[in-house]
Symmetry: C2
Subunit: 212 residues, 2 copies
């Protein structure tokens, strides 16, 4: 058969997908390897053919996905758009990721904090890189005169990231488990955040501010 053989070379991928799902639902420590196995329709032992151990699964999730995300960010950063448009794009990228792959996003952000030293050591650099790319876009906007110049681009990037993350967090937390969070609400929140953030960032906003 052409596809009943879901067993192709995608077994590793199946395991990763399953892991994302389960980690998101129960958290890293609370999920049993056997649960991931069940979710992936694979035997417990099979997992160890593809991953060193439980933690390695988590690391792979970061690695595979974060790198893809970073690539997208780089694309945006080096595109031909306006600085302001780029920032918009970044917002859409981060929130869009959430909407489509909420589980993944949850795993990535939650575990970035959870941090079992090793993991922290591993994830932090990727995260920093993400922030740096954001900061670059902001800095470019300051150079071309779109954005006020009295703010440190890195701080702006952190605020941007954090704000988006906060919206996402409360969005995910907001709906009681039975019901799914509504994408509509997320979009609405996103557009308001965008209005708030860009208004604060736009050149000219420094008037009257205690920018120190």
């Amino acid at each position: 058969m052409a596809e009943a053989r879901a067993t192709e070379g995608d077994k590793r991928e199946r395991i990763l997908q399953a892991a994302i799902r389960v980690f998101a639902k129960k958290g890293f420590y609370a999920t049993k390897v056997s649960e991931i196995a069940k979710a992936a329709s694979v035997a417990d032992g099979t997992i160890y053919l593809y991953f060193q151990n439980k933690e390695a699964i988590l690391v792979s999730v970061f690695d595979d996905r974060m790198k893809a995300l970073l690539a997208l960010l780089e694309r945006i950063s080096s595109s031909q758009r306006t600085s302001e448009e780029k920032v918009q794009r970044i917002m859409e990228l981060q929130l869009g990721l959430l909407e489509e792959e909420r589980d993944l996003a949850e795993v990535v952000t939650v575990n970035l904090r959870q941090s079992s030293t090793f993991l922290k050591q591993y994830a932090a650099p990727l995260f920093r890189r993400y922030l740096e790319l954001m900061a670059d876009v902001v800095a470019a906007g300051q150079r071309d005169g779109s954005f006020r110049k009295d703010l440190n681009p890195r701080v702006v990037a952190r605020s941007l990231f954090g704000g988006l993350d906060g919206i996402a967090l409360t969005w995910a937390l907001g709906a009681e488990p039975p019901e799914e969070p509504s994408p509509v609400l997320l979009r609405k929140a996103a557009s308001q955040f965008s209005a708030l953030f860009l208004a604060g960032l736009r050149a000219g906003a420094e008037l009257g501010a205690e920018a120190k």
Copy 2:
């Protein structure tokens, strides 16, 4: 002796303090009850005289501290200050908490996400209340004309919380483990965030914004 008897009625308190410290350093799941006991200079079994089990310790941390934090927020909210000043205060409160009790803050925010269902169920309401109080302040500012009226106060509150949280996160993550994060950097970041956020929020900012 007057104080060698650290064994007073504060044993429970000692355990909580120790737990905050250890949870922050290693995360809830990775810390052994025996480690908390050691950190509190107490026998393993003693912990069970004061807490049902390991999870109950975490819940107590939330309960005791979050309630205190909420009380402070309420005080600010009902104070006589300008809306803008209130927002400033809130920022200071949240970041100040971080600076003074970084461990506690880490435990609270990290575990809010970590969430083992029960915990999520328990913590989420407190967190929502925190956001609601913030939103009230914003709404009041809109009513008195200090803030632009085209943004949903709850969304603004989330952005505010998230932005602060993001700054704190990267601040804590930024310094390599050996060195302590510098309070100076945090303050600087905070003042910039404040400038950015308030500029975006101020009445009049809606000009030219795609606030939809």
